[in-house]
Assembly symmetry: C2
Homo-oligomer: 102 residues x 2
DNA sequence: CGTGTAAGGAATTCTGACACG
DNA sequence: CGTGTAAGGAATTCTGACACG
């Protein structure tokens, strides 16, 4: 009836912190490094989707292995691990990019 | 990997209010009338699932038609419109109840 | 580079209650 | 019965910055 539950950005940062085990500081920092892109409410509070949370858990694992954020960013883009985006929208555009760049 | 996105209670009341168009007061009142049952964080703030939101939209429609909360409660229980619960857990128990009471 | 923390302010949420009806 | 609102307090979130490394 609505959108995909997985993609809807409705979860605030404190809850994301609890679920992922990351500190609020870390989550904000990963945004600064363009590893996640929450929505903002009219008053500026961040809202995340379940998909974002999964992305953050991938990031957390990479960080544990000592991978730097810049490296993680590359990998995320290369592998297209953000499957939700690929599955749900602009699939054509992304495919086009794949055909071009790879 | 995790649970069903639809059932996980992670959305705070302000966001639920925006999505459903109901006032925060109304949402709390429907809880008081046992029409929804959010989780509570350790510090007492309510957390709702997408399923709860759908439930609330059903309630909103009923209320617009002038149906009283007590009546809505009966209908919800009778029709088992909370499909997510039925689909995802204690299906056996609920079936048992159906066989008993109907 | 990645993350902690104290700082000050703004916005959220909570409960119990009074109001109207 | 269902919902608005003012009240006071507690907890959340935000940003920019300093710290360590």
């Amino acid at each position: 009836m609505e959108d995909s539950y997985k993609l809807k950005k409705v979860i605030s940062i404190g809850t994301v912190s609890e679920i992922t085990g990351l500190s609020v500081r870390q989550i904000r920092y990963y945004e600064e490094r363009n590893l996640v892109e929450p929505d903002r409410t009219s008053k500026g509070t961040r809202k995340y989707s379940f998909s974002d949370i999964e992305q953050l858990m991938i990031i957390a694992n990479q960080r544990e292995e000592g991978v730097q954020t810049t490296e993680i960013l590359r990998e995320l883009r290369k592998q297209g691990s953000n499957q939700s985006v690929r599955n749900n929208m602009i699939r054509g555009q992304i495919n086009a990019q794949f055909n071009k760049k790879n």
